[in-house]
């Protein structure tokens, strides 16, 4: 279990006596993620990143299912898919906008300027998808800026690969993200769960293993997935 978010094993993460969940039996549970309530701590994460635990099990041939209780908590303010510009003028520039104007940063950052649309502060550190323009693609936005006091029309893109270009009918979206819980037996998906925020249900889920026998690996994952529509 690697990752920058693995910061409180034994108290908020891992095998714990939870402060914010009721164990079905006894006082211990295993927690992937964070034993807490909204607002949950935020981290810089990579979509596709996974927190996982694995346990080896010797499956008896008479077993039909492995059952367990699981409960998922999804943060309220996960990034949501949003269209910033449905169709309009966009300029992808070599310069990165800063508080002092448009400055060339040396080539590692480039800017997106939307004269007819504004970014939200929360669009910073999210992934933008830009289409109907020569340099169409997905870009990480490291900041949204209002360098001239006229509104947040500028985004700093972490890319040095595109050539400056413009479009009169560009589409700009910010991608969303969601947490997905998955259970695998020997690499075969057995159950998957997505919960909406504020909907917390303790579920009994069954992993069908009636044909499996012998040494088996069970894996539970909490994965950050990108939402594109």
């Amino acid at each position: 279990m690697a990752g920058p978010y693995w910061i409180a094993p034994g108290t908020r993460q891992g095998r714990i006596q939870p402060a914010h969940a009721a164990p079905a039996d006894g006082s211990w549970v295993f927690c992937l993620g964070w034993d807490g309530l909204d607002p949950m701590p935020d981290f810089v994460l990579e979509t596709g990143e996974t927190i996982a635990i694995e346990q080896s099990v010797d499956i008896d041939p008479i077993w039909d299912f492995i059952t367990l209780m699981w409960k998922m908590r999804t943060p309220q303010d996960m990034p949501a898919v949003r269209t910033i510009l449905a169709s309009g003028n966009a300029y992808m520039r070599r310069e990165a906008p800063t508080g002092n104007g448009l400055l060339d940063d040396g080539g590692h950052l480039r800017g997106l300027y939307l004269p007819g649309a504004v970014f939200l502060p929360s669009d910073g550190e999210q992934e933008l998808h830009i289409s109907n323009i020569a340099a169409s693609g997905s870009y990480r936005c490291s900041a949204v800026l209002d360098p001239d006091g006229g509104g947040r029309h500028y985004a700093v893109l972490e890319s040095s690969s595109f050539s400056p270009c413009s479009s009169t009918n560009a589409i700009v979206q910010v991608y969303g993200a969601r947490w997905v819980a998955n259970a695998y037996v020997d690499g075969v998906l057995r159950a998957s769960l997505v919960e909406t925020a504020r909907h917390e249900v303790t579920r009994k889920l069954d992993l069908h293993i009636s044909r499996a026998t012998g040494a088996t690996l069970i894996r539970f994952e909490l994965s950050l997935e990108q939402v594109t529509s």
Binding site: D42, F43, I62, Y139, A177, A212
Partner: protein, 129 residues
């Protein structure tokens, strides 16, 4: 993939147990589950139909009814009649469980084409023929 800033989710795991002596055909992992409340009216209904004898699930005709409890039953899915019926859409995917030589599971999702009715209890009934 890019890095983004996002809040951490949580998954609690508890009470891992083995189960034996199940019926040959079982409906598992229904979400929303029985008696669950505060379900979003846009919710997708998910369930798995599994054959614990390892036989191909395609050998069973599976019908699923989704309807407000107490009202007329509405056929939502029928493997013998083209799958999803009028008013329902979703995905129907066969899976092969670990160690099985056949696709012995059918995972179904139901997205009603109209929203579920607010404050209404629904029944999901699965029949195999």
């Amino acid at each position: 993939m890019s890095t983004i800033r996002a809040r951490m989710g949580t998954l609690y795991l508890d009470n891992l147990e083995s189960v034996e002596g199940a019926a040959t055909l079982v409906v598992a992992n229904t979400v929303p589950q029985n008696l669950e409340s505060a379900v979003d009216i846009h919710a997708t209904i998910n369930l798995q139909v599994v054959n614990t004898a390892g036989a191909a699930i395609s050998g069973s005709r599976i019908q699923v009814y989704v309807f407000p409890t107490g009202l007329a039953e509405v056929l939502a899915y029928d493997t013998g009649a083209g799958g999803y019926q009028t008013g329902f859409a979703g995905t129907a995917v066969e899976h092969t469980s670990p160690g099985s030589g056949a696709a012995d599971e059918l995972w179904l999702s139901f997205a009603p084409t109209a929203w579920l009715v607010n404050d209404t209890e629904y029944t999901v009934r699965v029949e195999t023929i």
